[in-house]
């Protein structure tokens, strides 16, 4: 079964995405903090990860987490969501091979797309990351 990890400091968002992905027959793990997410990632090795860029009460933010994931695993699909005024972090994220960025709050189509991708997409062996 496909494993997906959701990382967001809003518990309701985690809950919501988890429910949607479980309907698509995925095994979903959630984490509210970056450190928690990293531990879970190392243990479970999910095929797809969705990360909120700003994680409060964490030791490091979503982009840091992305870096760590990428250093360990190049085949994991990584999607990120953020508010729209994060120019520098976006560039940083792109540099580390993020596979998609979604602006919060997402439209219905964007949300559907994100969930679909998390559930099914394979990462192309892209040249970046």
């Amino acid at each position: 079964m496909r494993k997906v990890l959701i990382v967001d400091d809003e518990p309701d968002i985690c809950k919501f995405l988890k429910a949607m992905l479980e309907r698509k027959r995925c095994q979903v793990f959630t984490a509210l903090k970056a450190e928690e997410a990293w531990e879970t990632f190392q243990k479970e090795r999910p095929q797809a990860v969705a990360i909120d860029i700003h994680l409060s009460y964490s030791d490091y933010n979503g982009v840091e987490l992305l870096k760590r994931i990428r250093t360990m695993e190049k085949t994991t699909l990584c999607l990120m969501f953020t508010r729209d005024d994060d120019d520098s972090t976006l560039t940083e994220a792109k540099k580390w091979g993020v596979d998609g960025i979604y602006i919060k709050p997402p439209s219905e189509e964007a949300l559907k797309e994100m969930v679909d991708r998390l559930a099914t997409d394979q990462r192309k062996e892209a040249s970046n990351g």
Binding site: D9, D12, K15, A19, H54, S56, Y57, D59, Y60
Partner: protein, 702 residues
């Protein structure tokens, strides 16, 4: 009149006039003076030469010949003296000069005593020529010796100079060579060799070359004066000379008189015309350039932006003055040096990007306080001589400068040019002051605008918040309705797990809708204009509202925010004011940790609230690990004073620490700051009296 006589006449007129002009320009300068003596000697020689040539008897010729020979002797002596003066060694060689004149005097004495030559006899149809004696042979050797001596000094002078000075000396040497050769062509005839000294006229060529060097290279600085006098003299000489010559040749006084009258009428007209033409031609470029530069300079103080000013200045100067290169340097406080802001040049002439403030150039410029000719500054490499520096001063400090390279046309900058430079310089100083003023204005205006915008935002957010609250309340109400009333009805249509899940989701909706309302309430409470009344407040309520507002800020800035709050403290005060004060302190900390990431630190802000033992007081501590407060004595106590700031005052529009302190004092409390120094973070501590009764039932929030 023979050609030789004519040559004598011309030589006489030219040398006399040039000598007078140069002398009169600067009688105190030893160079001008010694040149005048040379010219006088030549004039004497030529005067004698003319009359000697037109003599009709041997006795008459002999008299004039003595005079011209005196001239010859004096020419050499004064020539060497002049060379000494011109290459600036006259002071050192006073004894040699004295010896020179002594030698001259001896030979003049011999000359007058008719010991230099015997009787004159007509030779080769070229007038009466002398028979040289032994003394004369000796003199001839001395003559050549003096010539070579003088020339050797001139050549030395050329080697040790550069730029326009060098050019001048070269021209002078050339002229002198030509003149002496011309004069020397007379010697063969002394010894009976049939070599007509027609080259005697070369002496006038020498005069012409020197005159040219004067005009073109400001030899001793007397350009236009020479031309004007020259024109006058030429016209005068022609106006008088032509009738005179015609009369002399034709012996017709009628003819010559009528010619004289005719020329007397036309003369002044011709003279004026030539004067004007000469002025225009000679001065035209200069005049146009100077006027253009003056007009350009006047446009500069209208500019409001320093960068634009620098640009315009450089381009204008380059276009109008046409130097080989042109650069503007301004002092940069961060780099502590003069930085090249803009430069233009024909041929990629490299100017250094930075000039240290203790370099020879800068020191010389600072001392000068006016346009500085770089020739006067020793050890300036890379700028070339003939360059000028226009310094800009502000409050007695050298703010920047304009560097002008030598003119493209290789003319030198003369005194009138420098006068215009001064005008340009003065206007630039004004212009820079102006730009600074406008810059300050811009900052002031933008701050005013910012404040206005904030006020608008306040009104905006207040009504907006209300609008957002309505649908949120609606959602809460409706979903609660569905959950509590409608869903119940269909409970048995669902499996227990499905029903539980559905209720759970509806709870989630209600919960999130309430969150919206809470946030809205916090914003509204914060932006409300308060009556300023004091109440007994639950500190928890105040802090909840506060943290709702600050939370997103911390999250957005990746700040690790931790809290340790003792509950159930009641305080007597005004919620709005307290929130405002605390928000300001937190924003301060936010600002302080802004650069932490660049310095390899995580951003951390901690908020602690605790009672002090005894129970009457409690403290609120806001600490951060940001840039801290300097431990300079007296500084940390003063940060609560108006207008003292730890970072640029253009940042942030907050009320400032002075107002925070006022608020705390209003609440009968104390506030102070602690820090271990720069980069070690800071701690702001607020101490307030607590109240032991209950909080007022009417809360101002929610």
């Amino acid at each position: 009149m023979s050609f030789l006589a004519f040559s004598g006449l011309i030589n006489f007129i030219f040398s006399l006039f040039i000598g007078i002009v140069i002398f009169q320009r600067n009688p105190s300068d030893v160079r001008n003076r010694s040149y005048f003596y040379t010219a006088l000697s030549v004039a004497l020689y030529s005067f004698g030469y003319f009359f000697w040539q037109i003599s009709i008897s041997s006795a008459q010729a002999a008299l004039w010949f003595k005079i011209l020979t005196t001239g010859i002797i004096l020419i050499n002596v004064t020539f060497v003296h002049f060379v000494f003066a011109f290459v600036d060694v006259a002071q050192r060689n006073q004894r040699k000069i004295f010896f020179l004149y002594l030698t001259g005097l001896i030979f003049i004495f011999l000359n007058i005593s008719s010991l230099l030559f015997g009787n004159l006899e007509p030779r080769h149809n070229l007038g009466f020529w002398p028979t040289p004696t032994l003394f004369f042979n000796a003199y001839l050797i001395v003559w050549f010796g003096q010539c070579f001596y003088g020339f050797s000094w001139l050549l030395r002078g050329i080697k040790t100079s550069a730029g326009s000075q060098r050019e001048q000396r070269k021209y002078l040497t050339l002229g002198a060579v030509v003149g002496f050769i011309g004069g020397a062509t007379n010697w063969p005839m002394w010894y009976g060799i049939n070599f007509p000294p027609y080259f005697n006229i070369l002496i006038s060529v020498y005069i012409a070359i020197v005159a040219y060097a004067i005009i073109k290279y400001h030899l001793m600085g007397i350009r236009l004066a020479v031309t004007k006098v020259g024109i006058f003299f030429v016209v005068f000489a022609l106006t008088l000379g032509i009738p005179f010559w015609v009369g002399y040749q034709t012996r017709s006084w009628l003819l010559s008189t009528s010619l004289a009258i005719l020329l007397a009428i036309c003369g002044p007209v011709i003279h004026r015309r030539f004067q004007r033409k000469a002025e225009e031609a000679l001065q035209k470029e200069q005049f146009t350039m100077r006027r253009a530069l003056r007009e350009f300079a006047e446009t500069l103080p209208h500019l409001k932006d320093t960068a634009k000013l620098v640009n315009e200045l450089c381009e204008g100067a380059y276009e109008i003055i046409q130097p080989k290169f042109c650069g503007v340097y301004l002092f940069d406080y961060d780099k502590d040096a003069y930085v090249l802001k803009q430069f233009l040049s024909e041929d990629e002439h490299p100017l250094p990007d930075k000039i240290a403030k203790d370099s020879a150039l800068v020191i010389a410029a600072a001392l000068q306080s006016e346009s500085l000719a770089l020739d006067k500054v020793p050890n300036i490499i890379g700028f070339g001589k003939e360059s000028y520096l226009l310094p800009f001063f502000r409050d007695e400090m050298l703010n920047g400068f304009l560097l002008l390279g030598p003119k493209e046309t290789s003319d030198v900058y003369d005194a009138s040019d420098v006068d215009i430079f001064e005008i340009l310089r003065a206007q630039c100083v004004l212009a820079f002051e102006n730009c600074l003023f406008w810059q300050d204005e811009k900052i002031r205006l933008s701050r005013e605008e910012q404040i206005k915008r904030h006020q608008t935002m306040d009104h905006f957010s207040s009504s907006m918040a209300h609008e957002i609250d309505n649908p949120a309340t609606g959602i809460r109400g409706v979903v609660s309705l569905i959950r509590d009333n409608i869903a119940e009805k269909y409970k048995d249509k669902f499996s227990p797990e499905d029903y539980a899940e559905m209720v759970d989701w509806m709870d989630t909706v209600v919960h999130n809708a309430k969150r919206i309302s809470d946030l809205v309430a916090a914003v509204r409470a914060f932006s409300k204009q308060d009556t300023g009344e004091f109440h007994h407040l639950s500190l928890d309520a105040v802090l909840n509202s506060l943290l709702l507002i600050m939370g997103p800020q911390f999250k957005h800035n990746d700040v690790y925010f931790s809290t340790e709050i003792e509950k159930d403290i009641v305080v007597y005060g005004n919620q709005i004011y307290l929130e405002e004060a605390l928000v300001n302190l937190m924003e301060n900390s936010l600002h302080a940790v802004r650069d932490n990431v660049g310095k390899g630190r995580k951003k951390e802000i901690a908020f602690k609230v605790y009672r002090l033992t005894g129970g009457d007081l409690f403290r609120m501590e806001i600490s951060d690990n940001g840039y801290g407060i300097t431990k300079d004595p007296g500084f940390i106590e003063n940060i609560f004073v108006d207008y003292v700031t730890t970072k640029a005052s253009t940042e942030g529009s907050g009320m400032g620490l002075s107002r925070v302190r006022k608020v705390i004092q209003m609440h009968k409390g104390k506030i102070w700051a602690e820090s271990e120094g720069k980069e070690t973070g800071a701690r702001f501590i607020v101490e307030l009296p607590s109240y032991h009764g209950p909080a007022d039932p009417v809360k101002t929030s929610r």
